[in-house]
Symmetry: C2
Subunit: 199 residues, 2 copies
Amino acid sequence: MTRAAVVDSAAALGSGEGLDGLSIGRIASELGLSKSGVIGHFGSKENLQLAAVEAAAQRFRAEVWDPVAGEPAGLTRLRALMEAWLSYLEREVFPGGCFLTAAAVEFDDRPGAVRDAVAATWTLWLDVLEREAARAQAQEELASEISPRQIVLQLNAYVMAGNWNKQLFRQPEALTPSRVAIDRLLEMRPLPASRSSPP
Amino acid sequence: MTRAAVVDSAAALGSGEGLDGLSIGRIASELGLSKSGVIGHFGSKENLQLAAVEAAAQRFRAEVWDPVAGEPAGLTRLRALMEAWLSYLEREVFPGGCFLTAAAVEFDDRPGAVRDAVAATWTLWLDVLEREAARAQAQEELASEISPRQIVLQLNAYVMAGNWNKQLFRQPEALTPSRVAIDRLLEMRPLPASRSSPP
DNA sequence: CCTACCGATCGGTAGG
DNA sequence: CCTACCGATCGGTAGG
């Protein structure tokens, strides 16, 4: 289906040059189509942008969320989610870094449907993480002195900063400080737990 | 001087709509000038973008760095720098949030002079923070179990995430979690210091 | 600093 | 999905 190819191209181009910098003519020449062949499926550039956001969100879910759904709820799954998230950045699923981070920064000052879609996607994802953090605390796997919200905002900060670091400075070890920070935060145990190593 | 007005306008517009989305025609109409009156001072759009980055860096320095230079080196100055940084975001010095964060995300995939200037500015700033963190550790005001680099990357993550949070979700308390995280990190003392309260 | 203009590209439409 | 086209805007230049 041509429509899917157009959306994929828009998401790939958008992650690098921006979701608004992307032009219909560029996508058309990239895919060997005419401009009307590109825009015909969507009616307007904004609808195309919305479709790209939707596709990026589904891709994120498929790459980060789904593979981890089988992990035990709580700290184990939270750790797995964070590692899957970092791995998704390392694998460069989108050529220009995290699509939804770039789109958030680009559209945060432009009221409209695209901005709303990006914000809603982020809210959904942060809520997933928060639920897992709360669960980890309820299971006494994680200290309760910090609220689940605060934990999630810090985890998000580490990943966002890692993505930024990687994209701007192009260092191979750009995500290591993020991993260190995440591990430190998630190692905060509710008690100085003495754990017996399995035989 | 007209040139300064053009640069200011470019920096203000660029923080919101992006440094590349900004157009010479828009700046011209904003200032009541002709397009050639705008571009004549710079020769090319890229030179104008470079001038805007330079101006934003000077502004950042004037708003965040200079006011704090008189504080005692070490933890005190590091705390003051972080608070000045958050205050600069709260005061909305640039209408579209931190100019240099937006520019970093926008240009991280576009090799060229603008990208290099943005990266160099960030390196400078992170080095300032790192030096102060190292000083704080040398003065035994801050635990040494985390490297100065790691501390600075975490501090940077909190501020970046706060800026992102503020811009995307428009909540008045958007920076509070950043403050909490910063305080927690900088409260890590080298010893369980018993402090006598002043009379 | 201006007017006047260049070729190129933009988003989008008409008609098929 | 195509060709052909619309008005608008882009960065930049010529000439003053």
